[in-house]
Amino acid sequence: MRRPKKYESGEATQYISRRAALRRLQLSLNDFRRLCILKGVYPREPKHRRRAQKGSSEIKILYHAKDIRFLLHESIVWTLRDYKIFAKKSGRDRAIKDFRNLKRRLALFPEIKLDHIVKERYPTFIDALKDLDDCLTLLFLFSTFPSLHLIPREQSALCRRLTIEFLHYVIASKSLRKVFISIKGYYFQAEIKGQKVTWIVPHYYPFKPQSRQDVDFKVMSIFVEFYTIMLGFVNFRLFHGLNLAYPPQFPSSVLQDNSETLQDESSFVSDRIAALNFELLRTDKLMEDEEELDIDMELLEQDGDSKRIIKMKQEAQEVARLRTLFKGLKFFINREVPREPLIILIRSFGGKVSWDASVFAGATFDESDETITHQIVDRPSLSTQYISRDYIQPQWVFDCINQRQLLPTNKYFMGEQLPPHLSPFVDSKRETYIPPEEKALHDPSLIETHVQSDDDDDDSDAEADNQEEEEIEQQLLDAQLQRAYQQETAEYKKYGGTDGVNEDEEDSVDDDDEEDEEEEEEEDVEQLDDKTKRLLEEKQKMKVESGKVHKVNKRQIRKAEVDEHRLQARMVKPRHRNLFRKLIREKQTKEKEEWLLRKKRRNIDADAKEAKKTAKREAKKAAAEAAAKALKMA
């Protein structure tokens, strides 16, 4: 038997250095980089570097040998080689000034085809959706670029087109869930086919020059090249899933024949599409909405009522409410407000929106429209204001969506100091101590009570008590008055009912008529005696009883919880026991921490209140003394 040599098997053969890969594939380094990015082949870190590098311990870039073998089969390798040949030949033509040949060659430039690679890298549609985060962020970023070195203008234009198409889908499917304005840009999170897709859109400002030191533009451009193809296919599938025509088109009703449309139809259409303000052409006639959701709910109801199911149900309800959050509202966006993010938000939750026609094409109504309910403004004051609408700052829209309800607008009025914009990516229902201030920010109902309690604090307690007493007295008075009134009316009815005419003969004709009617009714009553009697009895029986407070037996609940917990503990498999214990311990420590913090807060609050009270008392005393002195002086 042959004695095995060193590095002929094992890790040394599993990995291949970049240089060796280049030699194997017969490509230049640039071409190899491109191929790897397009095919999704990335360098690897071996377990034992020295073994993988056949004894050398410097850090080389290594690839899986299998990956490289896989690349050998790729058809675009031939295209990349064709590029090389093309460059050589066209260079020669240019050098000898054979322009006829050069033109022919340029027309036959070998195009790279990436369709099959998309399918290969993402075998299912869900896989593609999972990887959409990077893709969308990069494309949104590139869509803001002018033509730069290594980034052609066509690429950024294509990025713009694809991202607009994607936004159309998001609007049509109402799949947006969370939004966040950060100093980086706008974060958007949508739920597409159950996958959370998050992307960042840069702030709409003039182009900022990018330094070439930090980022390899060539590499990014290649990534974008692949992602454009991928997003194209994803868009196609998404649009067809919603029965929308792809590429997006308008229904013929929008396209009226006027001088503008006839002049240049294609640019007119593309402008309107970029405006994101019109419904797109559907391939089917029906408009079906929220049917799927109902089905989901029914399915859920069949299952048992575990905590998860309840949570899911709640979530589904919330989402259903969110989808029609802005329904019936009409927004107008002022010039200084970034248009695109707000349009996406408002339109995807059912609102109507327009803007100044001079800012961008596609405005549907004017500022002077009286039916506008909200005008979004980002300046301290405005000269002409309409009474019929609220002037709000853009943050209102974002906060409404994050909290999934329409917030009171008074905190967001024009020129108002805004409440902080919280991140929706931090779970507000997390199981830790949340200070009351933050809680108030999440729950607007708490804000109001908080404000009121503050007012109470300002008054002294005695005054508050007085007020309460006064209120109670007022209520009592009201009640007595009401009772008296009821008695009066009852008596009046009695007399009217029994004697009829003898009460007042000087009554107006109307009264006479009424009496006649009553008489007629009486006759009827006599005729249908039994029925009315029963009805009357029922009426008398009908009353609102004061409800009893359902008494919660805390002990029993606690006991049930403990039992359940014990059962759970028993169900845990022995190999997971340690993990279970760890989880429980963590939970306990968390609870303890929370309790401690809450206690601390309570103490602090109590102390603060006490201090305030004493301060006020002293102030009062001082005032009284001063008054006494003044009297004495007088």
Partner: protein, 491 residues
Amino acid sequence: MATVEPQTKRKRISKKNKSAWRKTDIQDVEQFLEDQRQEERIGTFKDKLDDDLFVLDTSTQKVKASLLTPKQKRKLNAKKAMRTHQVFENTSKVQDPIAKRNKVRQKQNGRNIELEVCNPTKPRHRQANADRARYNEKLEERLAVKQDSDKKHKIDKDIWQEEDFRDKIPGLKDEKGWISRPLALHVAFNLQGHKVVKTHGSLHHKTTKAKKFVPPHPGMSYNPSHKAHQELIDQVVDREEGIIKKEQHLKRVTTSMFSIVTPEERDRLRLKEMSEGIDEPETTEKEKNKANGDDDDDNDAGQKQKTVDSDGEYHTVNAPVENKKKSKKARRNELKQKELQRQHDVKKKLKQQTADLIRIKSIRAEINEEAEELNELKKRRKKTAERKKFEPKRLGRHKYEEPDADVNMPEDLAGNLRNVKTESNLLKDRFKLMQRNNMLAPSVAVSRKKSKVKRFLRGSHKEPGVSFQDLRDRRKAAANAAKANNNTIKI
């Protein structure tokens, strides 16, 4: 002085007999004697006058040698007729009476394709024309197809639709299962070039356990709550402090470890350090003289390094090697000692073992301790391995560096959307994210070094010239003058 002959190895010759004496080479001696005699006859250079030795050069100056490079020379030579062809040149001054006689037809370089295309004379010309037409037709077709597909980034199919390649080719799909899938694949490939390459699983393996989407810190909001913003700033400050601490440590350990000296001092020290061990010739001589004067023995013993003594004898640095033989007795003794040592060791070991019997309990404890330590180590290793799964891998020469967190300083917080101060570069952020997700090997941008260009003002620049600017100025001045004139006239 005698001329110095090239040294040759002297041959040893036996000079036993008188006749052998003749073999002795006495040429050099004879040469010397001959020279001497000649000097006596003519006299030496010193005796002669300058006029006898030197002559004034009155001839016309020679043409300087051409400064052509060999390449240029070669080019010039190439223009000349070949030496072999020079014979054929007609050097006669007599004119040819019949000028038309020797008209040589220049042979055409290559074919005249145009002629062949326009009026084909040979069958191959016709064939070529037909071929060309066919090629052009095909080209047109290809161009048309390309322009169609080129028009837009065209996407007109759903690639994720489940479809069987066997549907496309009639006869490939049969319900009975006669045609196996591999066979179908084979046929499809041969018929339509439909190739199926299997992607291996490791291509889709995740290389990191870290989450793809990192939620932004709530303090990064354009209008953050005070608490969140402070938290973020604290994070940034912590990181920055760490970096400063590291830098200071490095500085303390490297730069400030060495004392600071003036440049002159540094140079002097360097000179001293580099010339360590090399004795300057003058000083050594002086020392030698001194040593000779004082005491010779001491000097010889102390200065081992000296290679050449005053006598000129050669001494090595190390002492000469001596071949000292051990005596048989010494060898025997050595062996005996070795054996004794071995026996002693064995005895000692035995003793130790008996002693260990008593110590069994403590030994067990030791072993247990060791096992525990090992266990601890194992645990720690496992933990680090687990942690490493979330960290970016080391893919290339450079290590991945966490980018700085984006934060607005408190004074930059505007509180409204109009005045947001954007802090981050989204492109850089994405680039770093790709590095974090092991998609790119971290790299450092290498900028090509620009050659240094020495710039200076050309002499001619200072000379007055006419530029566009000048011309425009002049024109304006003239126009103004004209206007002024007009005005004055009008008034």
